[in-house]
């Protein structure tokens, strides 16, 4: 077993074993600690994955997916299923982000377990199981394996929302699980269509759409895109998200917004566009129109929203709209914008949910009408909230800018009346995004302190700062050096799009 194969196994095995160990450890705090250590080790295991064979040399036909490391084992030989994992420039940033956010959430749980729920170590264990599922989704190079990992995430996430969430958690969790299960059914059918038509489930072979007739590609893309659109979520298939985000505990919201949604956009790029490029080309205008609708509807709803976490949840709809617009353009610029937009949204919205959770924990309300004057009593918290909001509205120089601006630029690059119109509307959506975040800050930060805010102590806990600081730094670092995310993406993206030339 090479080092790379070992790492790939470790990335999945460590959190899985950690989850078991966290539950098995006697004592709640010790269990949480064990789980956090496992999450830390996972992060450490994801980092060296970058050291691989980045060869994009040579001309002529080469596979469209060239993993840096891969692990290919027979799994169920009778069904021709393989346990095929691999990592490349498209998946690696997402893998690291997942490991990082899980570590931060576990560390946060070490400090504070949401009130009114189960034990802390169970929460940590569930977070680790979710991590296994998400990491597996990003690493899988076999379509059936991809589907399996995609589904692993669902139930532990349900348990997190239903177990540790807000007042209306059971209904929200049920809605989340049923709605996304509906998406999964479509995914299953799509996977079946592809595998039955191509006779293989290997993504490396399938990418580029070779061997699939056009009709199959159209059907497969429709099914897969619908499935991923539910997860991303794409308007109008988004309505599970506000409820789930609002009711989930802080760490649940962070994982949900930070990385769980990315399974949808990642799947769209890697699986849907990769396996059925003809279908993608056929459906691109529809996808683009829906993405821009998501941007506009998401921002307008935020502009009229009066609950803190719900507002941030809806802002995700808008932000993912930019990501999906980038994908829909099917240009290298657009796909790279989508990749960095994915990462930026994970970092920034993760931070926003942490901060919203902190505000709600302190004031016991999320209603914008009852929050005011935060900067008077807790200037640091208000400052961080301001930073996160400004990052989220896509201020140039911070992480959110690249994905949004270049999604617009990619649409301009695509040219033609439709895409130019979409670019203009998306750019207007950017202005609306600024409008609702400024409205949020004006309500929450400025003005005289409301009774709920007036009694707050100014300080922040060390654990809070520890959990937030990496996200703040990342938002700044990715903004100043976008190459952190994109330096390895050009090769795979160009290979993915080579079929369109």
């Amino acid at each position: 077993m090479t080092f790379g194969e070992f790492l790939l196994v470790a990335v999945l095995a460590v959190p899985a074993l950690g989850a078991v160990a966290a539950v098995a450890t006697p004592g709640d705090r010790a269990g949480r600690l064990v789980g956090t250590v496992a999450a830390g080790l996972t992060l450490l295991a994801t980092l060296p994955l970058v050291s691989g064979d980045h060869g994009w040399f040579g001309y002529g036909p080469s596979p469209a997916v060239q993993p840096w490391h891969q692990l290919d084992l027979p799994w169920a030989p009778g069904l021709d299923l393989r346990f095929h994992l691999g990592v490349d420039g498209i998946s690696w940033p997402l893998v690291v982000l997942t490991a990082l956010l899980t570590l931060l959430c576990c560390g946060y749980t070490l400090w504070r377990v949401p009130e009114g729920g189960g034990s802390g170590r169970a929460l940590v264990a569930l977070l680790l199981v979710v991590e296994v599922g998400i990491l597996g989704t990003f690493l899988a190079l076999d379509l059936v394996l991809f589907f399996l990992f995609f589904e692993v995430v669902l139930l532990p996430m349900y348990a997190i929302i239903a177990g540790w969430g807000g007042d209306d958690r059971r209904r929200a969790a049920r809605k989340f699980v049923l709605y996304t299960l509906f998406g999964s059914v479509l995914l299953l059918v799509g996977v079946y269509v592809v595998v039955a038509a191509a006779g293989t489930a290997d993504l490396v072979t399938l990418t580029g759409g070779s061997g699939l007739p056009r009709g199959t590609q159209l059907a497969a893309f429709t099914l897969l895109a619908l499935a991923f659109a539910v997860k991303s979520p794409l308007w109008p298939l988004h309505s599970w998200l506000p409820d789930a985000h609002t009711q989930a505990p802080t760490v649940g919201s962070v994982i949900l917004a930070g990385v769980l949604l990315k399974m949808g956009t990642y799947g769209l790029i890697r699986v849907a566009v990769g396996v059925a490029p003809e279908g993608a080309r056929w459906a691109a205008p529809v996808l683009g129109v829906l993405a821009v609708a998501a941007i506009l509807v998401g921002s307008l709803v935020c502009l009229a929203q009066d609950e803190l976490k719900r507002l941030i949840a809806y802002s995700s709809v808008g932000h993912m709209g930019f990501v999906l617009l980038g994908v829909a353009t099917l240009t290298a610029t657009g796909l790279q914008a989508a990749l960095i937009g994915n990462i930026a949204h994970g970092v920034i919205t993760g931070l926003l949910f942490f901060l919203a959770g902190a505000v709600k924990d302190r004031t016991h309300t999320g209603s914008l009408a009852e929050l005011s004057g935060l900067r008077e009593t807790t200037p640091r918290l208000a400052g961080l909230l301001g930073f996160a909001a400004v990052a989220s509205l896509g201020l140039p120089g911070l992480a959110g800018f690249w994905g949004e601006a270049f999604a617009v630029i990619a649409a301009i690059r695509r040219g033609g009346g439709l895409w130019t119109t979409l670019a203009v509307l998306a750019a207007l959506g950017g202005a609306l995004t600024a409008a609702y975040f400024l409205r949020l800050l004006r309500r929450v930060s400025h003005g005289r302190p409301s009774p709920a805010v007036g009694r707050l102590a100014p300080g922040l806990a060390g654990a809070e700062l520890t959990a937030w600081a990496p996200l703040v730094l990342l938002a700044l670092a990715v903004g100043l050096a976008p190459a952190l995310v994109l330096s390895y993406a050009a090769g795979p993206v160009n290979a993915l799009l080579a079929v369109f030339d």
């Binding site: 307008l300 502009l303 201020l395 630029i409």
Partner: protein, 641 residues
């Protein structure tokens, strides 16, 4: 070395600003101004601006021809974004002005944001974030100035919008400040939608966002005109040009040194500078220049007339900025970027001076309303004479700086109108020229009114005992008075005029910034007329406001032709109504469908379950009917096959 200096120019203030943001925002002892964090913040802020000024001066000496440098920042699918600088005479001159004003503002703020005689005991100025945000603001503007790439320029451009937002909302005692801050950010951001799209058009066609590549690329006329018009939206937002000027007067809610910063060196100057930077493109798009000219003419007069009726001394100055930036964009529209940049530099000096002097007045009397001032001349002689210099330069009194630069603008417009020179149409020249001439008279009128109302006549607030400000406020004002008075004479120095040449202009002719000739008399006559009318009105009744001669127009001018209401009715209210409608639609329509299908499924299941809970006779009948149905089907299929 030049590269290092170019990087240090925005880099040092940026670093200082980021470090400053880490200081405790509201430490213990902040109310008395004796805390350590405040001292650190002061050191950082002043040092950052001073280093930037030194770097700018060093570059002023070193740079005599365009220099470029940089490295690839990121490549997105074949579109290259560079992290680089592009220095030329214009860039270093503007950078020097920016750094100098920033340094003056940093020093001035030390005294201004301190517990003063009119403050509550408990006021906490939150100095560390304030100073850090000024540093960031400076860094952002310097980024715009030296950037060699449009995306990098956009970074500085929007960070400036953010900093203006933060600083305008800084004073926590003013209830109107947060709204003004949001307005400033949002209005400019709406303009930036166009700016981003314009940059996208230019960059996508050229395959690179590097300014040199963009300027070298040959665009189709349609693309170029569209891109330039889109860029103008951003320029109008940042430089407060009609119809996106509405944020600037409200931005007066910010602390006075911030007003000086926004109005003199940063923010409003950025739009003019960006057009000058990309002027070779605009020169090929006469339609865009014509639009710019129309907007400039409207803005000159709109700003000047609105300034006539304000009672708030800062608002008079704010509207005068709107009007003066209109002169700059007007100069750009008639194809005279050098004249525009010259006016930008002199305006930076005299407007910073005017705001800081106004700050000294406000500091002394505790109000911004001129109706409560009067008679300050004897009590505040230094401030008075500095204001005289500033207002003289603003109105264009020879030989103060504004006279020469405004004359340059008017001469260029006159040439465009009468001789048809310049890249745009002759009617644009006429429009800018006539608006500019009328603007001279109105400017002289409101400048005279400000001086008379605030400093002459009898004191209208007898209880206050005004006095000249302490040294830390006085020296920045005094030092700024020097360029405000004398910078115009620099136009006679060839090295100065040559540096204002836009680098793409390779005509080789010497740039003429001053035009000594008989046509200098026309603006002078108008100046005397405007000032004279104001003086006569004041002489008749020194206690009354000369603005009374405006009669029924006064409230209209005071509210700037009610354009705020128009904006509110046409943009703000429809958007919020649309937002509410979309929210309702999303919750009841889209989500209602989801919830409804869930409920329908549950009800269907319940119905079926109820059907199955039947009594024995009906159940038996059902089973028999089913059996019969199956039997029939089998029989039918059997017959058919």
């Amino acid at each position: 070395m030049t590269g290092l200096l170019a990087a240090a120019l925005p880099g040092v203030p940026l670093l200082v600003g980021l470090v400053g943001l880490l200081l405790p925002p509201s430490p213990r002892g902040a109310a008395t101004g004796e805390d350590r964090a405040r001292r650190v913040a002061i050191t950082l802020g002043v040092a950052g601006a001073a280093v930037a000024l030194l770097a700018a001066v060093a570059l002023l000496v070193r740079v005599d021809r365009p220099i470029e440098g940089g490295t690839t920042w990121v490549e997105l699918g074949g579109l290259t974004v560079t992290l680089g600088y592009r220095l030329d005479g214009v860039a270093v001159l503007v950078a020097t002005a920016v750094a100098a004003v920033a340094l003056a503002v940093q020093v001035y703020s030390i005294g201004y944001l301190k517990r003063g005689p009119h403050d509550d005991v408990e006021v906490d100025h939150r100095y560390p974030p304030y100073a850090a945000q000024i540093s960031l603001f400076t860094a952002a503007m310097l980024t715009v100035v030296v950037s060699g790439d449009l995306i990098l320029l956009l970074v500085g451009w929007e960070v400036m919008g953010l900093c203006s937002y933060l600083l305008i909302a800084h004073d926590r005692r003013l209830p109107e400040a947060p709204a003004a801050a949001v307005k400033a950010f949002l209005v400019t951001r709406v303009g930036d939608v166009g700016f981003l799209l314009g940059i996208a058009l230019l960059g996508v066609a050229a395959g690179s966002f590097r300014i040199a590549d963009v300027l070298a690329h040959h665009y189709s006329t349609g693309t170029l005109t569209a891109a330039c018009l889109l860029l103008l939206a951003g320029v109008a937002g940042k430089s407060a040009q009609f119809p996106l000027h509405t944020w600037l007067p409200d931005a007066m809610a910010g602390p006075t040194p911030i007003s000086a910063l926004i109005h003199a060196a940063t923010m409003v100057a950025a739009g003019v500078y960006a057009v000058a930077r990309l002027f070779p493109l605009f020169a090929q798009a006469p339609a865009a220049l014509a639009v710019l000219g129309v907007l400039a003419a409207i803005t000159v007069l709109l700003g000047a007339f609105a300034a006539t009726a304000q009672d708030d001394i800062k608002r008079v100055l704010a509207w005068s900025t709107v009007s003066q930036i209109g002169y700059m964009t007007g100069a750009l529209a008639v194809g005279a970027p050098a004249a525009a940049l010259f006016h930008l530099l002199t305006h930076a000096a005299f407007k910073a001076l005017l705001f800081l002097a106004a700050g000294a007045v406000i500091h002394a009397v505790g109000t911004t309303l001129m109706s409560r001032m009067g008679g300050l001349r004897t009590a505040m002689p230094v401030t008075f004479w500095c204001t005289v210099i500033g207002l003289g330069a603003l109105a264009g009194v020879p030989p103060l700086s504004g006279f020469w630069s405004k004359d340059g603008v008017l001469a260029a417009a006159e040439a465009a109108a009468l001789e048809g020179s310049g890249p745009s149409y002759a009617w644009v020249g006429w429009l800018v020229w006539l608006a500019g001439l009328l603007g001279v008279a109105v400017t002289a009128w409101y400048a005279t009114r400000l001086l008379l109302r605030a400093f002459l006549g009898a004191a209208r607030l007898p209880l206050a005992h005004p006095h000249d400000p302490p040294a830390v406020l006085r020296w920045p004002v005094l030092l700024l008075a020097v360029p405000a008075a004398l910078l115009g004479l620099a136009a006679f120095a060839p090295w100065f005029a040559d540096r204002l040449r836009v680098p793409a202009d390779r005509s080789g002719e010497a740039v003429e910034l001053v035009h000594l000739g008989p046509n200098l008399l026309l603006p002078l006559v108008l100046l005397l007329a405007g000032a004279g009318v104001a003086w006569v009105g004041w002489r008749r009744d020194p206690a009354a406001d000369p603005a009374r001669v405006l009669g029924p127009l006064r409230p209209v001018f005071a509210r700037a032709f009610r354009l705020d209401d128009v904006q509110h009715a046409l943009v703000v209210r429809p958007t919020t109504a649309l937002a509410r409608a979309v929210r309702t639609g999303d919750e009841l329509g889209v989500d209602g469908l989801v919830e409804g299908s869930g409920r329908a499924a549950v009800e269907l299941g319940g119905g079926l379950a109820a059907l199955h809970r039947a009594a024995l006779p009906r159940a038996a009948a059902g089973v028999l009917a089913g059996a019969l149905l199956i039997g029939l089907t089998v029989a039918l299929i059997g017959v058919a096959s």
